[in-house]
């Protein structure tokens, strides 16, 4: 269990997808204005990341790598993830309408999100570098990446809420001050460097 916890903590804090790897910046800036939309988007991203890893990992391990087709990873993953998200949307609409009404508007937005593609490609990369990094570790890494995305979104929606009622110079209003704030939040996450390794000791 311990290595899995370390993987999750690393994915959330030290390798935070938004604040350290700068993936998924578009939803980070676009949907973080309000807490409830930020949460909805994060839950959808976590869900899709886990689904995408569950599907792409076996495809890579069984179909691409044994046949020497590793160079097709990116294009195949894009195809598979896009089809998968569409399928999930249809299934949710039919069988889980309540979940569909909560996540529905976010799912199409995530179809081609770089954070989702990023997490599956990084999983494959880590698995190639370390044989201990198997399917289970990949799944934990994806869920951790999703939770890290959620942490960044929720924190930043709080920051933006504060900015709503601040007296900001006119030339900085809107996107400029948002980017400055994002940079500061990202800088603060540098402080987490090495924390997971030291807590779990590996």
């Amino acid at each position: 269990m311990k290595p899995y916890l370390a993987i999750i903590m690393t994915a959330i804090l030290t390798e935070n997808f938004v604040l350290s790897k700068f993936l998924g910046i578009c939803p980070f800036l676009g949907v973080s204005k309000k807490l409830n939309t930020a949460l909805g988007m994060s839950v959808a991203v976590t869900f899709v990341m886990a689904m995408a890893t569950a599907v792409t990992y076996p495809i890579n391990a069984r179909l691409l790598e044994p046949n020497g087709l590793g160079y097709l990873q990116m294009i195949v993953f894009i195809l598979v993830i896009a089809a998968l998200v569409q399928l999930v949307e249809t299934v949710l609409k039919k069988y889980v309408p309540s979940l569909y009404s909560a996540l529905g508007i976010y799912l199409p937005l995530i179809t081609t999100n770089c954070a989702v593609l990023g997490v599956v490609l990084l999983n494959v990369e880590k698995a190639a570098a370390d044989t201990a990094f198997g399917f289970g570790a990949s799944m934990f890494n994806s869920v951790g990446a999703g939770l890290g995305f959620m942490l960044a979104m929720v924190m930043f929606s709080g920051v933006r809420g504060k900015m709503e009622s601040s007296d900001i110079p006119k030339f900085m209003r809107g996107l400029p001050i948002t980017l400055v704030a994002a940079a500061l939040v990202s800088l603060s996450f540098l402080g987490f460097g090495g924390i997971a390794e030291n807590i779990f000791g590996n």
Binding site: L69, Y71, L72, V76, L79, T90, V91, E164, S165, D167
Partner: protein, 273 residues
């Protein structure tokens, strides 16, 4: 050469599989859509602003088509065009749109209402409201830094002597100002037939209100006695008008000792200054 063929074959095969799978899924798991709701949705502006009281255009359209409501006039951004189009889809007679306007329920301008502190911070109602409830003695009073005026897309709001005023002729009843006001002072009222509106929300006892503001409702009850239709009531030392019952006769406005009651009309500004 061979590698290219294998790569193309693998990618096309996966693409084809995915495409066929999706096509099959959309056939098998098709959800029956409400065609009438889709047609109604096409009549609505699609901004999902929530003015109608539903959570968005989709919600209002499905409520209309499933019989959840038969009021075709709830969309105020869509206005008359939307109401007529919806009535056309539903096959009912187009109902008359009741014009509405937003009103600032406060007359505590610089002459009527006193200040309790000098506020030198940012010129924002939201910020000033966090400092002891605002600079005015009356905590319910309009702060007058114009958060509502900045929110208004129609430039219908201006600040007169420290109190926001809305021009009913320009107001589109979009409720953006309602959301912008930290004191919840703005309310949307019917603007046809000159309904009476009490321009005060002070819930203090009469004597306290009187000390704080010369134009505040003390809850004296003269308007209740004057009203022939039983439309005015007092709750929490402040009069309130039931718009369903109000006939717009104006008796309450003429007897009010503080002058807090006004008749609101879409064409004129009801004499509010």
């Amino acid at each position: 050469m061979n590698a290219i063929f294998i790569a193309a074959a693998v990618v096309s095969a996966i693409g084809l599989l995915g495409g066929l799978g999706l096509a099959a899924a959309s056939k098998v798991m098709a959800v029956p859509t409400d065609e009438k709701a889709d047609e109604i949705k096409a009549c609505l502006p699609g901004a999902s602003c929530g003015v109608c009281g539903y959570s968005g255009c989709d919600d209002y359209a499905s409520a209309l088509s499933s019989g959840g409501t038969d009021d075709t006039t709830l969309c105020s951004p869509g206005g008359r065009d939307a109401a007529e189009a919806i009535a056309g889809v539903l096959g009912v007679a187009p109902a008359d749109i009741l014009p509405k306007t937003a009103v600032v329920l406060c007359r505590g301008n610089s002459q009527n209402a006193g200040d309790k502190l000098r506020y030198d911070g940012a010129k924002s109602c939201r910020m000033a409201a966090d400092v002891f409830g605002g600079p005015k003695k009356c905590v319910q009073g309009c702060i007058g830094f114009g958060d509502c005026a900045r929110a208004c897309p129609n430039e219908a709001i201006r600040i007169c002597e420290g109190v926001a005023r809305i021009d009913p002729a320009k107001c589109g009843a979009c409720r953006l100002c309602v959301a912008a006001c930290p004191k919840n002072l703005i309310s949307v009222v019917p603007a046809s037939g000159a309904k009476a509106v009490v321009l005060c929300k002070s819930r203090e006892k009469g004597a306290v209100t009187k000390k704080q503001c010369g134009a505040g409702c003390t809850g004296c009850g003269m308007c209740v006695k004057a009203c022939g239709a039983g439309a005015v009531s007092i709750g929490g030392f402040c009069a309130e008008v039931d718009f369903e019952k109000c006939t717009g006769c104006g008796k309450c406005a003429s007897v009010c000792p503080a002058g807090s009651i006004f008749l609101i009309n879409k064409t004129s500004n009801g004499g509010i200054t």
